[in-house]
Symmetry: C2
Subunit: 559 residues, 2 copies
């Protein structure tokens, strides 16, 4: 079902993504029949989404309501907050988009890649600026995060004031000096906040998250001890991190080679907009690097998650044209082990050690800190904002449950802290809360140029093929007599080694022949039935002989 | 190449598995032409080994030498040390097998499952017992580990004394009081040790590993706070852990339901042999459980790694016939997040929270400790044993490198600490070390009843099918005229949704028809060439239209 227009002065909250999962962040607020969208992120595929390139939110619930969408506001420029825009912009009715400088710059670059430049109606805002959007007045406030120019939102609605933290941490010494705006949060608290929506990613972590500056100190400690080449891999969006790497490199007189498509792009954007200060003469290209002694070289690149095609992995596998790792070189993985990537990352690390490199990573050095607030930071925000109601956002289900529990532990009434999941609308007003009937949301898979065509069925087939391989059975029968004109012939992939298995496959064919012999006694009209019987017989045979369950595709021709 | 017999009084060390990987532990020692095998473990498949059930070592290097194998000695009963025996026993020439009581009991159970009971020649030993095995005298010494009845080995050879720690930690308060035998290690040091082989799993961890007893304290703290059912998931081989769960359950008056095939089997074995003390009247079955109030029930089960078919996952998905999780219940995952399983485990945890359960796991409570020695424990062993040479074992490549570095940091000569990988023989004698030419080793895949038939090629096809799906192109041509008798017909799996894609698939057929039209002009004899052309044309078409690369299987019939 899709969303009925809402009138009166209640506020409707509809999470479209990011509640019950990491990534895919997208939220709709509705008042007076007007809809404000917060963020529009993507998610990278999980292991079971075989062959999927990207995942975006299913916004079918908004069908027929696009005329009511007054704006899309962005908290920051991470993929899980802006990445779905190129795929959903038209479907959202191309609403005006509001965000800070770097956020829009990263979005522009993304639109460019999708040949959508100029299509979007972008409006740059600065922290503490307020914009009138339909029945909403949205004030952006600074939020320190693992990307430059992050923001939270204070949204004034007919129902009351809503505070959305975006992704944040309370870094007291951020690299760019831009702290999360506690002053504004305190002011909202004084004004009276109806509803708080806050980042739950690190709710399981006690204490407070370390300052990004700690990473700079780690670089400053490690680099002077390095004798060979230094390779630093990090996320290309983490401009603070890149700044600190550059500063540490300059301090020890190393020149910097920027490697990796997104790293090159983002550094160019950030330098151009003044978010990143790297002197021109410290940047070198591959040719210049070859002329320098290796102890004067630092390479900054991507691939810290062990992505198979990334240049760092190719370097580690000695499969990179221009860059190699030699004994005595140092590699720093300045990033988190993202859940699901651990195996790929440790494999990368082992390969680097095989090349004789020294490797620093999360578990051995403090060369990464999180961008998300830990428990004590969350508590501080709750006590400043003092909301009437609270809905945890940005987290897996257990994070949301624990964040709601944290709010209650600070005195919030049991029923005022509400765990929502995607597609569960909630009506909020001074008079209380009301849950509405669940609407359809979910995940849309992108595979190549196809958006949403690959679904559960295709994934099930891919998983079956992946785990058991394929057997095609080909048969041509005379349509009058039902006599075999050709076959049975078997073609297999990923099932058994064909050369070594001729005898075995002959047995399998014999199984089909016997089946046909029995069948042909009666008049054979039901080809579909025959296909089913062939599949059954072979399934039994393969299970009995080698205990495998390949995907069996019987093809019966009538000639 | 296989192994040439070795004579003279040098010792040959040949790692067959476990060096450069976690699992698959197997090592061959040779002296005077006689071979002693240490452990024979398996490995659970990594993500890229699609559809593989188990992985065992490739022992081709021993072909033709089985007559020289004097014995197989086992350090402990974990799968990665005994799991490959049922598959390799015959091929090893069925040598006598030596191990401690529980180790052999677990092996017997395994042989039973493979219908090999009675085939193996098993010899039970106790710690500090010495056995004469060909030109080796092997003394077993106690090693505390995450399984009961673990041992290390002191092996007296013509070349000198070799000490193999097995898997161990220096737990000063083990649950069964059986500490790692530091007294014997000290004595070996006094006697003079030629070569030390030591567990490297936790070499990246500073300090010392916590005592298993800490987990018991955690259970004792958590259980009294539980009001509903309690479900504890752990490894079925961790008898100490199970003992502590049982003790904690008894202390709060909960009855215990044992669930999960391997859990039931191992608890029966351990109780029978006296390694596990659980009063009969505290064990209940499903029927008795239903008659008890839930606050008097504790269920101990498997599935702590989020294995899709495990009973805990089925419970969490509300897909288990006899057991469900209700709001207020408590689930304790008393186990490590094994690398590669993190996603499956967190998914399990999120499902349990959806059911309203409270969940305790590694990252939130101290309900698991490692069974492997950390840095300070390793240093202590090195300083007691004072070996002339050192080869790190049991670890990924980076662990071996760091363990060798740890030995050097304690004063060992650079070249006396040697990082070996599987298949790299090393000759050791008083006169020094000599590396020999690498021999063939590797991983043998088990899929269903097939041992070793599924190889790199099949895995490549499975990966291709998994990521891009399948397109079968079927064509029947008249062998004289080359005219099309049937088709082109397309059958797809996991590629595009067939119903919705009829038009698109028609275009694809048209591509094939055009190709044939051109071809048929010249005399068509080269069917193989035609197949290649068809594949090329479709690959181009699919890449251009939807940017996908399905596995294309062209089938051309001549009729």
């Amino acid at each position: 079902m899709t969303l009925e227009p809402l009138h009166g002065d209640a506020l409707r909250l509809l999470p479209l993504g990011g509640l019950g999962e990491i990534g895919l962040n997208m939220m709709a607020l509705e008042c007076d029949g007007q809809i404000l969208i917060i963020d529009c992120g993507l998610m990278f595929p999980e292991a079971y989404m075989m062959g999927i390139d990207l995942v975006i939110p299913d916004i079918g619930a908004l069908d027929g309501r696009t005329a009511d969408i007054c704006a899309l506001v962005l908290t920051h420029g991470h993929e899980d907050h802006i990445g779905a825009i190129p795929f959903l912009l038209e479907r959202l009715g191309n609403p005006p988009i509001y965000g800070t400088g770097l956020t829009l710059a990263l979005l522009k670059n993304k639109l460019l890649e999708h040949r959508l430049e100029g299509r979007a109606d972008l409006h740059r805002v600065v922290p503490r600026q307020e914009v009138e959007l339909g029945s909403f007045r949205v004030e952006f406030f600074r939020a320190a995060h693992s990307i430059v120019d992050g923001a939270g939102l204070a949204i004034r609605t007919p129902a009351g004031l809503v505070v959305h933290t975006g992704d944040f941490k309370l870094d007291q010494t951020p690299v760019d000096g831009e702290r999360t705006d506690l002053t504004r949060l305190a002011a909202y608290g004084e004004e009276g906040v109806l509803l708080l929506l806050a980042d739950s990613t690190n709710v399981e972590r006690p204490g407070i998250t370390l300052s990004e500056r700690v990473v700079g100190e780690a670089f400053a400690a490690i680099l002077p001890t390095c004798t060979g080449k230094v390779i630093v891999a990090t996320f290309s969006s983490n401009i603070h991190r890149i700044q600190q790497v550059a500063d540490a490199a300059c301090a020890v007189g190393r020149k910097i080679l920027v490697n990796g498509r997104s790293m090159v792009a983002n550094i160019a954007i950030a330098r151009q907009l003044g978010y990143l200060a790297i002197p021109d003469d410290t940047l070198i290209d591959l040719r210049q690097m070859r002329d320098l002694p290796k102890e004067e070289v630092l390479i900054i690149t991507t691939g810290s998650q062990g992505e198979p095609m990334s240049s760092l992995v190719r370097i580690a596998m000695d499969d990179h044209k221009q860059i190699e790792v030699d004994p005595g070189d140092t590699v720093i993985l300045s990033s988190k082990f993202i859940p699901g990537n651990e195996k790929a990352i440790t494999t990368l690390i082992n390969h680097l050690y095989r090349r004789g490199a020294e490797v620093h990573y999360e578990t051995t050095s403090e060369i990464h800190v999180s961008g998300h607030a830990s428990q004590e930071e969350l508590k501080l925000v709750h006590s400043l904002v003092r909301p009437r109601y609270f809905v945890p956002v940005h987290g897996e289900y257990r994070h949301l449950v624990k964040h709601a529990a944290l709010a209650r532990s600070m005195g919030m009434a049991e029923e005022h802290a509400v765990v929502l999941e995607n597609g569960m609308p909630l009506l909020v007003s001074e008079n209380g809360l009301r849950r509405e009937e669940r609407v359809n949301t979910g995940r849309v898979f992108i595979d190549g140029k196809g958006v949403g065509d690959v679904g559960v069925m295709e994934l099930r087939d891919r998983s079956h093929l992946a785990n058991h391989g394929l057997v095609v059975v080909l048969l041509a029968l005379n349509q009058e007599s039902g006599a075999i004109v050709y076959g049975p012939e078997l073609f297999t992939k990923g099932f058994v080694p064909e050369e070594e298995s001729q005898e075995f496959l002959e047995e399998a064919k014999e199984v089909v022949r016997q089946l046909l012999a029995e069948h042909s006694r009666e008049a054979m009209t039901e080809w579909e039935e025959l296909r089913v019987e062939v599949r059954k017989a072979l399934r039994r045979f393969f299970n009995r002989t080698i205990q495998r369950r390949p995907l069996i595709l019987p093809v019966v021709l009538e000639l």
